[in-house]
Amino acid sequence: SQKIEQNSEALNIQEGKTATLTCNYTNYSPAYLQWYRQDPGRGPVFLLLIRENEKEKRKERLKVTFDTTLKQSLFHITASQPADSATYLCALRPKGGSYIPTFGRGTSLIVHP
């Protein structure tokens, strides 16, 4: 069956360090992968998208990599700040079909001052 896995344990890091979050998937052929941020009591907010033929994408302090051989995406936040503390969700859109994104469970990031 299709699965999207994100680390269910919270990631705790010190301010200024680089946070790296992982999204693994199985039995999936995504056309592209999206990352969202969700704050408590709020809806997810889109951050970045990476296509299957792209290796890396950057936006300010954010970087996403996509390895279709490993079936994995890494999401990096450099120079992390306490304001980056949130849950980060990856979502995969399949090739063709309904195009409906399927979300991972998300990983909670806590940046300590």
Partner: protein
């Protein structure tokens, strides 16, 4: 202006009741969605709807039904509420994925439903 708005934000009701959650988007998007986020924070698609097609997640009980009076609205009706329906329900919209396959989703703030 809020892009995707849902009402009510909180809803507490008894088992067996029928309730509705409303959703409106002012982004001019063609496609709207309903997702359910359970206590384990897992965000699961329930419905996707545009002016051409309604796609239903086959695991969603038929007590749940989407109703779209126009392109900017997609309401969620739930009949005979059960304890297990307690969750946060998110409405979202995007550009037509058939035309813009990479379009991101814009989410509402969520409606927390508690069934007693």
């Amino acid at each position: 202006d809020t892009a995707v708005s849902q009402t009510p934000k909180y809803l507490v009701t008894q088992m067996g009741n029928d309730k509705s959650i409303k959703c409106e988007q002012n982004l001019g998007h063609d496609t709207m969605y309903w997702y359910k986020q359970d206590s384990k924070k897992f965000l699961k698609i329930m419905f996707s709807y545009n002016n051409k097609e309604l796609i239903i997640n086959e695991t969603v009980p038929n007590r749940f039904s989407p109703k779209s009076p126009d392109k900017a609205h997609l309401n969620l009706h739930i009949n005979s509420l059960e304890l297990g329906d307690s969750a946060v329900y998110f409405c979202a919209s995007s550009r037509d994925p058939g035309l813009v396959a990479t379009g991101e989703l814009f989410f509402g703030e969520g409606s927390r439903l508690t069934v007693l």
